[in-house]
Symmetry: C5
Subunit: 88 residues, 5 copies
């Protein structure tokens, strides 16, 4: 899983019908060499500013209630932002 | 999902038969460290200049009407281009 | 799909039996931040110098006549090399 | 598979129910051009500081006892950290 | 498929049982912008120093004799290391 921080909601009025009912969150990936933002579906109620675990790709379907073209899913909220020492 | 902006159509006269009937769009990925362009199938009518959500890989099949060798799909149109502050 | 340019054939005498009969092409990925070369199977007859669309990963199987450990497939030939303006 | 070093555990009180019971480890990817950290499930008892092999994506499911939205799995512990010479 | 060069074997005494019996090779990816090393299963007898084709992700399963959490597989040995001219 990747680690990231929830930045905001995504408002998408026109979308594929299978995405209806899923909350879509903008997540900034953290702990990567270069920053980037992705959009993930959320079923556990993650809120802005929280650090989360993201599952990507095909394994996402095991966390959805029905099949949908969704390739990123918030699967956990990290209790504390991980900080790593250089020695690691 | 990744975020991107629709740039143009792709004209491909010779293509795998399973791709016939799908509109193919060139999309510039945004909110990534380095810019790049990909081609995605579109079933919701995204137009040039619009900001879209892209699903990639195997989950794409849940958004297609029939099986096809397509690995990127426009699944939503973002109402407003997301802008993030440095503090995020 | 990714965009690329066909560079050459790959000659591989010893290979997994499931790959027999597939033409394998070296393709230089274009429109990405950093150049790289990949190898893709081809079933539509792409030739050296042509610009092509590549599907990667699991969706490749929908474009193969039988199951094979192939993760990149030429699915279309682009009529004209896409050129994008900075304003895009 | 990717190679990495186990850095720490991840504490996630609120998570998708399918992740309950899996130990989640922060792993720093090694032998890549740019360092990054990921989170992987572990079923073989890898400990902090050990060098491990990570499987990602859909093949992870063949290493899980039940279906779960997990996309990275520790599948082996490397006996010795690989060191490569420039000539390689 | 990606191209790479076989560097060495991986010795992993403790590993997921489904990996038993597979030779695991360290492969340096070539023809990419930035060098990196991965570990791939091998069923065709690739040896140190040989240039190989690697399939990654879910399509790997079509090259395995039984289901296993393996996401990279050597599927071919390239007869000659590809060299590309700048004009390509």
């Amino acid at each position: 899983m990747l680690m990231g921080k929830v930045i905001s909601n995504v408002v998408s009025t026109r979308k594929y019908e299978g995405l209806q009912g899923y909350k879509l969150l903008v997540v900034r990936l953290t702990h990567t060499a270069e920053p980037s933002y992705v959009v993930a579906a959320d079923t556990i109620g993650a809120g802005r500013g929280e650090h989360v675990l993201l599952t990507t790709g095909e394994p996402v379907r095991y966390g959805l209630h029905r099949e949908a073209p969704i390739d990123m899913l918030v699967v956990g909220i990290i209790d504390q932002e991980p900080v790593f020492e250089e020695a690691d």
